[in-house]
Amino acid sequence: MSDKDTTHFGYQTVDKDDKAGMVAGVFHSVAARYDLMNDLMSGGIHRIWKRFTIELSGVRRGNAVLDIAGGTGDLAARFADLVGDQGRVVLADINDSMLRVGRDKLIDGGHAGNIEFVQADAQDLPFPDDSFDCITIAFGLRNVTDKDRALRSMLRVLKPGGRLLVLEFSKPGNEVLSKAYDTYSFKLLPLMGKLVANDSESYQYLAESIRMHPDQETLRDMMEDAGFSRCEFHNMTGGIVAVHRGVKS
């Protein structure tokens, strides 16, 4: 297997063509208890991280928003309220189990009329050029096989002046916090996965995939290389999570 054809799946090196299927397996497995596990693992803080991301997005009435890897629709639900009847929100996810859970949750929550659900691969977005005012991808980019290709695809479908927001786990800036976070990720997280979702492997992958994800500066450089301008990032909770923002000129 040559380096060119391989990628990371957590700490494993796998064939590039196999990663999407392996990631799909993880998310099929966790979809039903995704929200519960998110609340348990983050102590509910993921809602605050998403809230700040929404504030930073600057989304307003009438905007078109694409939420990639939208999962169970936390961001899409809030965007649907913000864009109103004149706007449009597309909840996209490559995984049909996650999309189904998200669609049911949004419809049950009374969100309809301005939301569409699309099963799509972030690397090859099935939308015309210059379609969206804002694109968000929350806790999804690290699972994408070819991140550079995905960033270029997002740039293509953004309108000029549109914003991309990438909310993702990152590297804590403080050594003590980093050590505590490692212990939590590799000891407690798989245990919680085992007890609540009866699936420790998926949560082991989660911890490993976070460590393999590019750090704040590297991801900002990747966004600039893809063609985004005014790229910046905001660390949250000591850098455990960062939100990156870039603009299509």
Binding site: R47, I48, F52, G58, R61, H234, N235, M236, T237, G238
Partner: protein, 213 residues
């Protein structure tokens, strides 16, 4: 403005405050519907020391949204120190404090005064959640007890404050009364003006002497 808090902490604080405000507004339907007239306007509250910023935006449904970041057009920006904002919060006449106090107002002051007037007129029905929880009869009685307790507490507070004021100013003479203090400040201000005038006069005379020499 440099961030004092982690953005997550800042957002969490605002989220809690927003939830409390909206809960209060849901108990004041008249005020809530009045707030829709300001829907979409954004008010920035900018505290310079300690550095903290919050944006308040009334929504179409009469609720309010609090944000830590807003990059669009702001209707009114209020800037000042934490002390200035505390003075505004505790003021008997907030409109006068806004105009005459040390807070800096940027933008259109009319929507801000309208917001202040709506909030001032809010008639929160605290009985409603108690009635929802305990039923009509028990809920009303609990509310009545709470109201009587609050009213008694308020009367005791006012009486205590007046007696303490009299003791400090008139009996113990620990501090001069407000009117004396204001008179003293006026005298200091007059003296300041006189000194300024004298200083200018001396400068003018010195200039004349220099020219004559």
């Amino acid at each position: 403005m440099e961030r004092l808090f982690d953005p997550a902490l800042h957002s969490a604080g605002l989220a809690a405050l927003e939830a409390a405000l909206n809960r209060g507004l849901s108990l004041a339907p008249a005020g809530k519907s009045e707030l829709t007239t300001l829907s979409g306007r954004v008010f920035a509250l900018e505290c310079e020391s300690p550095p903290f910023i919050a944006y308040l935006q009334p929504q179409d449904d009469g609720s309010v949204r609090l944000m830590s970041v807003y990059e669009g057009t702001v209707a009114t920006r209020i800037r000042g120190s934490a002390g200035d904002f505390a003075e505004l919060a505790g003021s008997q006449d907030p409109a006068s404090t806004l105009i005459n106090g040390s807070l800096e107002l940027v933008g259109d002051s009319a929507p801000l005064l309208e917001l202040q007037a709506i909030l001032g007129r809010l008639d929160v029905d605290w009985e409603a959640p108690l009635v929802d929880t305990f039923g009509d009869v028990a809920g009303h009685q609990v509310a009545q007890i709470a109201r009587n307790g609050f009213s008694f507490g308020k009367r005791v507070g006012v009486s205590l404050s007046r007696q303490l004021d009299e003791f400090i100013h008139e009996e113990a003479r620990l501090s001069p009364p407000r009117l004396e203090l204001e008179d003293f400040y006026r005298d200091v201000q007059d003296l300041n003006l006189q000194v300024d005038r004298l200083d200018s006069r001396i400068k003018r005379l010195r200039k004349r002497l220099d020219q004559a020499g």
